[in-house]
Each structure stands twice: as structure tokens, then as C-alpha cells.
Amino acid sequence: MAQQLDSAESGSRATGTQLVKRGLAEMLKGGVIMDVVDPDQARIAEDAGAVAVMALERVPADIRRDGGVARMSDPEMISGIQAAVSIPVMAKARIGHFAEAQVLQSLGVDYIDESEVLTPADETHHIDKWAFTTPFVCGATNLGEALRRISEGACMIRSKGEAGTGNIVEAVRHLRSILGDIAKITTADSAELFEWAKQLQAPLPLVQEVHDTGTLPVPMFCAGGIATPSDASLVMQLGAQSVFVGSGIFKSSEPAKMATAIVEAATHFQDPSIIAKVSTGLGAAMKGLEIGGLETKLAERGW
């Protein structure tokens, strides 16, 4: 019986399919993905219940402070983090820098973030993500940008927000813009979809798919400015399916506590009494920045 059931010879294995790539994004829903810069932080994140970590050399708040060109992280640092935890490890490549992405794939990272937090390498082209077995997540500020990234092969979309500010206002703007346009397209008639595709500068078949399903073709997470459990609850109530927290954890006064609290907030985002409980006695959240005072707006990177 057991021998007859063994399907090793009957079906060949297919890796890197859309189902396999988008599938991992499904598994990360309702969770928190945390930026970490070394194996110790990665372990703190895993102990707190992170569903994945993003390995990078400097959190966005430090990239802002230090300036200079921000690049893919040192492979040694990424490998060290992979060895330290059992949850998925993501890493960032510069926009358009397919050679960095090739390196990250060869290191076996579980997801590649083609990220505006790093200094862009190409002012016109994003990476052709279909060429990779490793899945990609990309940032978006509006629906057109999201659909262009999906047409290039992205398997997860996140709002860009304004990374490293601890200020949620931009992420909220991006989520409302993406979800607002999805709602409008869902009720548009078939003739109007051509105009939507033109306005959004997005492929018509994807606009039609949004119209038919009422949702993005891939999971949509929130990133950029989340600093408290209430921030996580806010963006998930608006429609984000998971949250990325960058500087918000390790720039707070008690990272392990903050990390644990945001994990619980992502699960119980609809229950204010639990958000209140986990927000109690957390210490100081990261200080944060006003968007108007920024010299560089990272969200404007990407095309």
C-alpha cells in the first residue's frame, strides 16, 4: 500500500512556481516580519514570535542618519542570521540591481525585498523577478505601482510608508490609496477598465483580475513607520494582511517587549482590549520624525 502511494516517480517536482512563491506569502499572513542587523537581534525577533526576519546592515532610521549609499548586506551577516533562526530570512536588494538579487538567491534567502530603503541602482527598470526561483516582495505607494511590480513577477506587495520615521501617516496614505482604487475598480463596468489601466499605467489583464476578484492578485502587507501595537492594529484593520516592522522594534527602549506586543497585536488586531493590554508598560517607542522635515523621501524611489 505504502509503496503504491509513493508518488516520487509519478510527478516531477516544480520549484519556483507562482503557487510556491505566493504560497510562502500566504503562510506569513497575520504575522510580523522584523528588521534585524545581527544574529542576536534575529534570535530576539524569533523568541518574540516573528514569522520572518529581514536581514540588513542598518535599519532605515540609521540609513537616514548616516547617509551614503545603502547596498545589499554583507553575505556573511546574512548567513549568520540564517544559521541563528529557523524562521524564514528575507534580505534586501537595491531597485534594479539584479546582480545583488542573484547573490541573495545563491545564499538561499527565503524572500528578496527589492527595496526603496536601499539606494536605487537603476532609475528606469526594476528587476525582472520572473527570472528568479526566490520570490520577491516590492513596495508600492498606489495601485498602479503595485500592479506594475506584480507584472514584473513580485509575489507580495507591501506599502512603502516612509521607512525609518516611526511615523505611520505615509503607510496609511498608501494603503488607503491602493484599497480605495481596488474598491472603485470592483464596481467599474468593463469599458471603464481600459481607462483604469491607462490611468494606473498597469497591464489590462491585471486590472481585469482586480475587478473580478476585488483584491490584489498577491498578498498585501504594510511597511514603513509602524512603531506601536496600535499602529499594527490600525493598518491591519485598514486591510493589510501582515506588518513589516523596521526601526520600530530595535529603536524602542525595550525591543523584546515591543516585538512581543506587536506580534500579539497582529493576531488580535480587532480586539482593542488585547491591544490595550499588550501596550501597557512597553517603555518608549522610537522617537520618530515629521514627514515634512525629511530631506529624503524613500517612498519616492521606484517607478
Partner: protein, 202 residues
């Protein structure tokens, strides 16, 4: 298809995909995050996701005790991927604080196939199905040992990937992702009719 109320554990992971399949079958379902919600359901699906995260959230939400109790009382349960890990007897490379609920006599190894680069889909033969099932394996666990009381319903490379023991069914892959509702349908069909919700009884 009207059936029992099926809960989907919604602490983290692919719970929405399971609910969508149940909706497609016309099976009433409920996202379960609290003790009260757990008490309402006639059966439970534990979805894929990160087993370490789910295990911690079971502790912090106080669900672990009530869940163990309902499992002991024979609550029908379907565990996929992380759900399989949580329901097994022994987790070979889990975190020391990770729960193994011991509902099905399996030893499992987390991420047994490797990283996301090694995640794959393939056609498998399932006992009782008259055609193949497209199975999606995502950073999937490998079953290293199955006890004598475990019924093996499908295998890949000599390792069980779909197993049943009494009211507990587990899959190392993701039946909620491949647009084929046969595994959910057969799970729901095996859930005993709840006398309270059986409207056909007169």
C-alpha cells in the same frame, strides 16, 4: 453542502485560504482566536504558517489548555504544514519551548526539504481519490516516523505526507492552495453530525 461549524485557527498563517475553500463547499466556518470561539466549533483546521509563532500565540492567548482538552475529547482536526507539526508527538528540531500536542503519532522535522528555494509542487496519489492531487510543499516538514496506529494516505519520496489517526488528519503540504477541495470535503464528511445543529432530526 451544509455541515458542521468548522473553526479555522486564525492566530497566524494561511487561515483565510482555508476559509475560502470551506466557503466554496458551503460549509459554515469561524475564525478561532479566543477560548469562546474554540468552544463553539464542531471541528478545527490548524493552518500552515510559522509553527513557532503559532505555538507562542497559543500560550499567550491562553488557548493551549482548552485546545488540548478539546483534542483529548476527540475534536476532529485537520492540520496542514505547521498544523501537522503542532499536532505531532515529537518535533525533532523544534524550539525547546515549542508545543507538540501529541494528537497523532508522528516524529517530524521542520523545514525538512530545505529553504524556500527547495519548496515545490507535484502530483501525488491519495488513497481513495480516483485522480492525482496537486500538492504544494512550502518549507514543508518531513515525517520521519509514523506510529503503527497512523493510516498513511499519501507519500512522497518514502515519507508520509497525508496521514490520519482517528479524528486527526494531517498534511505536510497545502491543500488550501491548489484549488482542489477534495481533502477538505473528505475531512468535513467525517465530522460527526452535531445533534444541536442537525436540523434534519425531528
Amino acid at each position: 453542502m451544509v455541515g458542521p461549524l468548522v473553526g479555522v485557527l486564525a492566530l497566524q498563517g494561511a487561515f483565510a485560504a482555508h476559509a475560502e475553500i470551506l466557503d466554496g463547499l458551503g460549509v459554515p466556518n469561524l475564525e478561532v482566536r479566543t477560548h469562546d470561539q474554540l468552544q463553539q466549533v464542531d471541528a478545527l483546521i490548524i493552518p500552515g504558517g510559522e509553527s513557532t509563532t503559532m505555538s507562542m500565540l497559543l500560550d499567550r492567548s491562553g488557548l493551549i489548555g482548552p485546545l488540548e482538552e478539546r483534542l483529548r475529547d476527540g475534536l476532529p482536526v485537520l492540520g496542514t504544514c505547521a498544523g501537522l507539526i503542532l499536532l505531532s508527538t515529537r518535533i525533532l528540531d523544534g524550539r525547546p519551548d515549542q508545543h507538540a500536542l501529541g494528537s497523532i503519532d508522528l516524529d517530524v522535522r521542520r523545514n525538512g526539504y530545505g529553504t524556500q528555494l527547495d519548496s515545490f509542487e507535484t502530483d501525488i496519489a491519495v488513497a481513495g481519490f480516483d485522480s492525482g492531487f496537486r500538492a504544494v510543499f512550502i518549507r514543508a516538514p518531513v515525517v520521519e516516523r509514523a506510529g503503527d496506529s497512523v493510516e498513511i494516505l499519501a507519500m512522497v519520496d518514502g515519507h508520509p505526507v497525508l496521514c490520519r489517526q482517528g479524528s486527526v488528519t494531517v498534511a505536510a503540504f497545502h491543500p488550501e492552495l491548489s484549488n482542489d477541495n477534495r481533502i477538505h470535503r473528505s475531512f468535513v464528511e467525517r465530522v460527526p453530525v452535531n445533534p444541536k445543529s442537525d436540523t434534519s432530526a425531528i
